[in-house]
């Protein structure tokens, strides 16, 4: 077969006037892009292997490297864009599904960018978060609808019972499900420790709970997914909460596959599968083919944890998300996690990632409204996930009706990720999405923890500023308070679905 053209995504510009031939780039690139040319004694690069992770660029002591998008363009064609042409070329060569990592990168309308926040002027004062308390504390779990003196035994023990089933978050931001396997143990450690230090929670994903993470288990939401990897009664009893994962935003309806070569001894022990065997999570749970099956699993878990821990269900935001969410409440879940179309992944077929599901902004709006219409909103907490880039995205999500959010991608970016979308190759230069001992050492969890804590601190400060600006000093008064939002450049149907007014409309 004829050799393909091998067009590279990036071009590497090496300024030979700056390069001191220290070979740091040669040494560190996991994709073997850089090499020492013995003939010329220069350091050279093979552009076609570059994934654009910018690790070498970051490391180069003299700034000799610049990674640029390859300017080479096919003939301009609005329909037959370059990426589609080359995807076909690759598939013609390989006959395989094109894989990718991270979340959907298509330019679908980003509703966060079309929502504006309010601020207090004259008729109510804004509040200065530096001078006044500004509260972000959030509780996740099942809450009773009403405190009725007739129903409730006012002995304090009964209050204890209800409250023991709640997760207490200092900031309404948790770390999304990322398994040990999809990311390195060092990354897991950084995330777990940051969660513990910042008074929030992290999620094990479907990777089990590695022994070295036991100290952070009281801040862990453990996942039960279709492969049931790493699930044991100990796993459940150590955790703070349990999450049944039905689907994820990056690949609704698709299972998972951790290739055997990544199943090292540590992963094998944690996932409870033989070393070197493929870890395949089926597309559905084979014991959940309907809502009543889900109810049985929820209650089986609740029995195991003695009704002392919240049990949640994670679903991808799909067209029918509102009724599904309502069903999940009625199935007995204590919190529901909704993962929007921009939710990330370690590996997914690109056609699935980019074409299945709906944006999280819309999903939050419709689920919150539906649960209110049915009078069951108080019974459950909504955790939103999928592409939160800044604190204002989070504030908007909470104002639309989410109780808290999960961040995955932004946490990884704090750890070094440059969103090159090559997680599935296992060659992450930043030591995040890899199990290669040569690469995982690049992520020093001490640094990672510090950076994640900094991110949470920075975002909570910003959230407090925004809250104070609106004259609100507790996050619960913003939750679902859609009067504080206005749409910009949105159609009537979009406004209706989001349940907000257009900019220019007063109260």
């Amino acid at each position: 077969m004829a050799k393909s053209k091998n067009i590279s995504d990036f071009v590497i510009e090496r300024d030979q006037n700056r390069c001191i031939k220290c070979h740091a780039c040669v040494r560190v690139c996991a994709n073997d892009v850089h090499f020492k040319d013995d003939a010329t004694s220069e350091v050279a690069s093979d552009d076609s292997k570059c994934v654009g992770c910018h690790f070498c660029e970051d490391l180069c002591p003299t700034g000799a490297l610049v990674i640029r998008k390859n300017p080479s363009e096919t003939r301009e064609n609005a329909h037959w864009k370059k990426e589609y042409i080359y995807r076909i070329v690759r598939q013609a060569e390989t006959g395989g599904i094109v894989l990718t990592g991270m979340g959907c990168d298509r330019p679908y309308k980003n509703y966060f960018d079309h929502i504006l926040l309010n601020a207090a002027q004259v008729t109510n004062p804004s509040i200065d978060p530096l001078r006044e308390p500004m509260e972000l504390k959030t509780f996740i779990g099942r809450k009773i609808d009403a405190v009725n003196l007739d129903d409730l035994n006012w002995k304090t023990t009964s209050i204890d019972e209800i409250m023991s089933g709640l997760l207490e978050l200092e900031v309404p931001i948790m770390f999304s499900a990322m398994s040990f396997g999809s990311i390195s143990l060092n990354a897991c450690k950084a995330i777990a420790e940051a969660a513990k230090l910042c008074g929030t929670y992290w999620n094990t994903g479907e990777g089990g709970l590695h022994q070295s993470l036991y100290p952070y288990a009281d801040r862990a939401i453990v996942q039960i997914a279709s492969g049931r990897f790493g699930v044991s009664s100990e796993y459940l009893s150590r955790a703070a909460a349990v999450e049944i994962k039905i689907g994820q935003g990056a690949k609704p309806g698709i299972g998972g596959h951790l290739p055997g070569e990544k199943v090292s001894q540590e992963i094998s022990l944690t996932r409870m599968i033989p070393q070197g065997s493929d870890a395949i999570s089926p597309a559905p749970h084979h014991d959940i083919y309907s809502i009543e099956d889900l109810r049985q699993l929820i209650f089986a878990i609740k029995e195991t944890v003695d009704y002392k821990k919240p049990v949640g269900v994670k679903i991808a935001a799909v067209h029918n998300v509102a009724p599904i969410a309502s069903g999940i409440v009625r199935a007995g879940a204590d919190f529901i996690t909704i993962d929007g179309v921009r939710g990330g992944t370690g590996a997914a077929p690109v056609v699935i990632r980019d074409n299945v599901g709906i944006p999280i902004e819309i999903a939050i709006a419709v689920v919150d409204q539906r649960l209110r219409d049915e009078g069951i909103r108080n019974q459950i907490s909504i955790v939103a996930a999928g592409g939160f880039r800044t604190s204002s995205d989070i504030i908007k999500a909470i104002t639309l009706g989410a109780d808290a959010v999960y961040i995955g991608t932004s946490a990884l970016i704090a750890l070094g990720c440059h969103v090159c979308q090559k997680c599935y190759t296992g060659k992450c230069n930043w030591g995040i999405a890899t199990q290669d001992p040569y690469l995982t050492r690049r992520l020093n969890p001490e640094i990672g923890t510090k950076r994640l804590c900094n991110l949470l601190r920075a975002w909570s400060l910003e959230m407090k500023e925004m809250l104070g600006g609106m004259g609100i000093n507790a996050i619960e008064s913003l939750r679902g308070n859609r009067e504080q939002l206005r749409g910009i450049d949105l159609s009537e149907i979009e406004l209706k679905i989001l349940g907000i007014k257009h900019a220019g409309e007063s109260w």
Partner: protein
Amino acid sequence: MEYEQLKLIEKSVKIPSGCGVAGIVNKNANRFSGEMIVSSICMMKDRGNGLGAGYAGYGIYPEFSDKWCLHVMYDKTGEKEKVEEFLEARFNIVEQEPIPVRKVKSLSFIPVLHRYFLDIKNKFSDNLTSEEDFILETVMKINRNFDGACVFSSGKNMGIFKGVGHPDEIAEFYNIHNYKGYTWIAHNRFPTNTVGWWGGAHPFGILDWACVHNGEISSYGINRRYLENAGYYCTFYTDTEVITYLFDLLCRRHKLNFEMCSYVLASPFWEEIERETDVKKKKLMKFLRIIYASAMLNGPFAIIVANSSVLIGMNDRLKLRPLVAASKDDFVFVASEESAIRKICPHPERVWMPEAGKPIIVHLQENKNYGEIKKYK
């Protein structure tokens, strides 16, 4: 602007208002003339701009003390007949009459004002969870379905009188000095919009709750959605409506006492809860804050809420609006400004500023059974 247009604005958007509020209660439930409250609220004339004032008095209809009394305003011809037909199907109308008013030149857009004293028909009373819920439903139905009618008072042995004008004009219009009550609250409104619709004035009432409020509730959006979840439909787009419904929900339906209710509405800060040494109280505060997170009132407010047996004055969590209290003999006074109290009680025994979020709760003597006031001194 045209009246219809003004009314539409008031019924479809939320108009921020600054306000003056005042309340007087006689702890022994001795009735006194409304003159006192009129003179108190009129002292704070510049807390309003002539675009709304009102009064609520308790114990003013002793001859009908066990009848539900509806004050209804009509601003559309033909609507009165329709509403009366609706009422007749549900109630035995014991007495009905136009609310006696005097002509005051400066007032405009005056609606037809009528009051009804009602008994619920037997056929309804059998399958009712409570009479109150039936009245609530009736009021909601009229206010939602009859565009030209507005029920603005619906308690027993109490009444709300309000309109668009200065407090002295409204008092003169309704002859407030002719009524005798044991609790009075009053309101003087400073809306940021032109208003014309009388239904938008305050106090706001439901059942025998009446509420006056100075402030802007920034949590309005979620409070309203929370109430809708509980079956309350907010038809007026005012903060006061939301506050009143919350009191009804928490105190009547969920049977919280007023202290608990204050933990919900002006929740203590988490730091304060953390500092609380009484373990049981601490748990209760935390619990209420978690369960009723959506009911918390955020933003600046000073409110005075009353029902037949209690008067509550309360500030927001930071005390961003003024509220002063004073007492003398068996009277307790609350108002936005001390001047409003000194005007009617020049030498109070005690004057104090309620702390942020800490309510003043004045329980009436020998009058603890909700809605049943039988004995007057």
